[in-house]
């Protein structure tokens, strides 16, 4: 075993660049300051009329302007911002010439209401509007850009052009675990020796009326609209749903060998990735917790680590009654007695649930936890849930010795992914 390979003989995969944007702001510095100060980015939605909505708040990114709005356009802009920040920090390649593939976690794409309305308008006010009318209008020309925009691969296509990533860019969705899966794909490509570097991005700009209503109809969202900053309450007894949010996270991954060779500063190691699918239900976890337990174990096995080596768990912690309960069941089963002492906090209490981006955003926050030796809190933790006796790092950040972080992501459709991030090779 040489110094650039792990105990299984695989290339060690390191992080040399990070970028993040959330409702708290743009960039690592601003986000970290606010995250460790326990600030909330959740606010009442101003982007569109909220009349009649059951949920009227979200973690929108309002400092990036997109007009006319589409979630895909916002997702693309956020993805660009974080990729640029990550590549600049890594100092890798040349401008527009990133020496590796792109793995992009992105929300499913479809034509959105502003564009559908523009099309209907172009059809003429005296016309009966149906899909035949829309098709005729679409075919008359003048909307060519909508084809480029609303292809599923469009965001990856644009990022690949902007940053000059190599090969076929992969757009992926594992629902709310997507960001973690993007990182896992990058890790695997480097371990296989296909690439020396990979750009892994998760981005989501999904707060639009229909997306909000879709989640509302599944009764998944918090309706605590009066004080938005207090709405996201992971692990608290009075939690009642997640808060939709936007954001993006990016990592530049490299083989340790390649990073060392070019003298890059190493920000952390992706020591292990675990995944396991759940086939119990489309939106609910298996009541026995086995898929979550298996996923977390797979992450540890892949890293060649044991639970006593994990100093902090960056939880999925959405604040839905179901998720947090199942997450406790899964973690406590794997961690046993250590469950009482290992800190477990949820960034989503502050930035909300950034959906397709969450795994990437939270990986960045996990790496910043390693860098600063400080654990961001779970805010809005005023009423502990006796059924979930985690140390959630309640309401106030905490200095701590952190050498290894587990970051978990779980999603609709039985998606489970778990990342192990460390400061030094293990």
């Amino acid at each position: 075993m040489s110094a650039t390979r792990d105990k299984f003989g695989r290339p060690i995969v390191v992080v040399t660049g990070m970028g993040v944007a959330t409702s708290l702001g743009a960039g690592k510095e601003d986000n970290w300051k606010k995250l460790t100060a326990g600030e909330s980015g959740i606010r009442t939605i101003t982007r569109f009329p909220i009349d009649g909505m059951k949920t009227t708040m979200a973690g929108t990114v309002d400092f990036v302007k997109v007009d006319p709005f589409s979630s895909t356009d916002l997702g693309e802009k956020l993805g660009e911002m974080v990729a640029e920040e990550a590549i600049a920090q890594a100092g890798i390649g040349a401008k527009g010439d990133f020496p590796g593939p792109l793995f992009l976690a992105v929300a499913p794409v479809e034509v959105e209401w502003p564009q559908r309305q523009a099309l209907a308008k172009a059809a003429g006010a005296n016309t009966d509007i149906n899909y035949d009318t829309l098709l005729r209008t679409a075919g008359s020309g003048g909307f060519t850009e909508y084809h480029r925009r609303f292809l599923f691969g469009s965001v990856a296509d644009s990022l690949a052009d902007t940053f000059g990533t190599k090969g076929s860019p992969i757009s992926l969705s594992t629902a709310c675990a997507s960001g973690a899966t993007a990182i896992q794909l990058g890790v695997e490509a480097i371990r296989r020796g296909e690439a020396d570097a990979a750009l892994c991005v998760g981005t989501d700009g999904s707060v639009n009326p229909e997306a909000l209503i879709r989640f509302s109809l599944l009764s998944a969202l918090s309706t605590n609209n009066e004080t938005p900053s207090k709405a996201s309450r992971p692990f608290a007894k009075n939690r009642e749903g997640f808060v939709m949010a936007e954001g993006a996270g990016a990592l530049v991954l490299e083989s340790l060998e390649s990073a060392k060779a070019r003298g890059a500063k190493i920000l952390g190691i992706v020591a292990g990735c675990g995944e396991l699918a759940d086939n119990f239900h489309r939106t609910r976890s298996s009541p026995d917790g086995k898929p979550i337990i298996g996923c977390v174990k797979n992450g540890l096995i892949d890293a060649g680590m044991t639970v006593d080596q994990i100093d902090y768990i960056n939880a999925h912690g959405t604040g839905t009654p179901e998720n947090d309960k199942m997450e406790y069941l899964g973690i406590s089963t794997v961690f046993g007695e250590l469950t009482k002492t290992v800190p477990v906090s949820s960034n989503k209490s502050m930035v909300g649930h950034t959906l397709s981006a969450a795994g990437a955003v939270e990986a960045v926050f996990s790496l910043l936890t390693l860098e600063h030796q400080r654990i961001p809190p779970t805010i809005n933790y005023d009423v502990p849930d006796p059924a979930i006796p985690f140390d959630v790092v309640p309401n106030t950040a905490r200095d701590a010795r952190v050498t290894a972080v587990m970051s978990n992501s779980f999603g609709f459709g039985g998606q489970n992914a778990s990342l192990i991030l460390t400061g030094e090779p293990v």
């Binding site: 829309l134 599923f152 691969g153 757009s171 229909e210 209503i213 797979n298 892949d302 609709f412 039985g414």
Partner: protein, 401 residues
């Protein structure tokens, strides 16, 4: 993946041991083999006129999706995909084998989002006629959207449904991005097996071409074939593709894993490569395919090509320029026989290649332009090509065993 695997020194050999196809031509290997050799094309020029589609044959979903409740939770694209996935698992002889399915990797290439066309139309009508207040869109969506429709729209829920219906739970990844997603799904599945990280994988896609909301996306740039069917090589005057409904899934596994359970291979999946030409200047697609041909490791002798060429321009003309450099290699275009099933086209091509190799013959031509030539001898290898209508180029090398 329950254990961390040792690093392998040589790529692990991967076999295709299961093929599941349902399409406008039928379902299963025999029906497709017969239909292709009979040069049958199932095309509907009236139901979506002026757009041409290749409609799915009537399917008895109960055969692969026994619970009506499961069927109701899906829209057509998911039912088609879940059905084809079941066919593939049956074909590989692993259906219901919990031990194998719980370790089986799954990579699905997916689009998504079947919309409720009536709800959309009703909202747009009211707005167009000035009957809409600021909160109107919210009110209509809240009242009229079916809660379960969202789950039928999410891209990763085809994989989710396959896990629920068939019990494939080793892993679940969904790739998006039109034709390239189909290429990359197979590419990554093979890479994991070749590297010893995975023993067996289910990979594929499902597509419903009989959807006006999906036609709309392609109609923005006039990609839909209009009025009258012709083979993809015969669309000089009116380029474009006729969307096709269908699902194609493959079971790919390491030779050792297949042998240990006594599974018979259809063919060997040797290589999958992919790239993305920027397509800013003419000739970039041709150059990309030239480059991939070198990488995929094929020769011209005893070789055939099965391409997913769409009929869209300029991509198809550029692909023809590439094909002309291999003029002796017999070519088949799945787009002529099946229509364009987007994410599904590449896994479909690999399934047909594996089927042909296992039967020791390439199926009949289906083309009036002379681009396709008959092949009298048995192919030793088949190169599958996936050139995206807008982006992405991919190639696979499938070999006889």
């Amino acid at each position: 993946m329950a254990e961390t695997r040792p690093v392998v020194s040589e790529p692990v050999e991967a076999w295709i041991t299961g093929i599941g196809i349902v399409s406008s031509l039928g379902e299963g290997p025999d029906a497709h083999w017969d239909a292709l050799n009979a040069k049958r094309v199932n095309v509907d020029e009236t139901a979506f006129a002026p757009y041409v589609v290749h409609p799915l044959v009537p399917v008895s979903y109960d055969a692969q999706i026994p619970k009506k409740g499961d069927q109701r939770q899906m829209e057509a694209w998911q039912r088609i995909g879940t059905y084809a996935a079941g066919l593939a698992l049956d074909s590989a002889g692993v259906k219901g084998n919990k031990d194998i399915l719980s370790k089986m990797d799954m990579i699905v290439a997916a689009g998504g989002g079947e919309r409720d066309l009536n709800v959309d139309s009703s909202i747009l009508n009211s707005e167009a006629h000035g009957d809409a207040t600021p909160g109107y869109l919210n009110e209509k969506l809240l009242n009229d959207l079916r809660p379960t429709l969202f789950l039928a729209q999410l891209s990763n829920l085809l994989a989710g449904n396959i896990a629920i219906v068939h019990g494939v739970t080793g892993s679940s990844r969904t790739f998006m991005g039109e034709e390239a997603a189909g290429v990359d799904a197979v590419r990554i599945a093979l890479a994991r097996i070749a590297d010893g990280q995975s023993d067996i994988a289910l990979v594929g896609a499902g597509h419903n071409g009989e959807r006006k909301d999906m036609m709309l996306l392609y109609e923005f740039d006039n990609f839909n074939l209009r009025d009258k069917y012709s083979s993809v090589w015969d669309r000089k005057d009116k380029s474009g593709f006729a969307l096709g409904s269908g699902g194609a899934f493959l079971v790919i596994e390491s030779k050792a894993h297949a042998e240990a359970r006594g599974a018979k291979p259809f063919a060997r999946l040797k290589t999958v490569v992919a790239d993305r030409a920027k397509r800013k200047d003419g000739g970039e697609v041709t150059a990309s395919l030239d480059n991939l041909w070198g990488k995929v490791g094929a020769g011209d002798a005893n070789t055939a090509i099965i391409t997913g060429a769409t009929g869209a321009e300029p991509a198809t003309s550029e692909e023809l320029s590439f094909l002309k450099k291999h003029a002796d290699v017999p070519v088949r275009a799945t787009g002529s026989s099946f229509g364009h099933a987007v994410e599904t086209q590449f896994p479909l091509g690999i399934g047909l290649a594996a089927l042909s190799l296992s039967r020791g013959a390439l199926y009949a031509t289906n083309d009036s332009t002379g681009t396709e030539i008959e092949m009298s001898k048995a192919p030793a290898q088949i190169v599958v090509i996936g050139t995206g209508h807008w982006r992405g180029e991919g190639m696979a090398l499938v070999e006889s065993i």
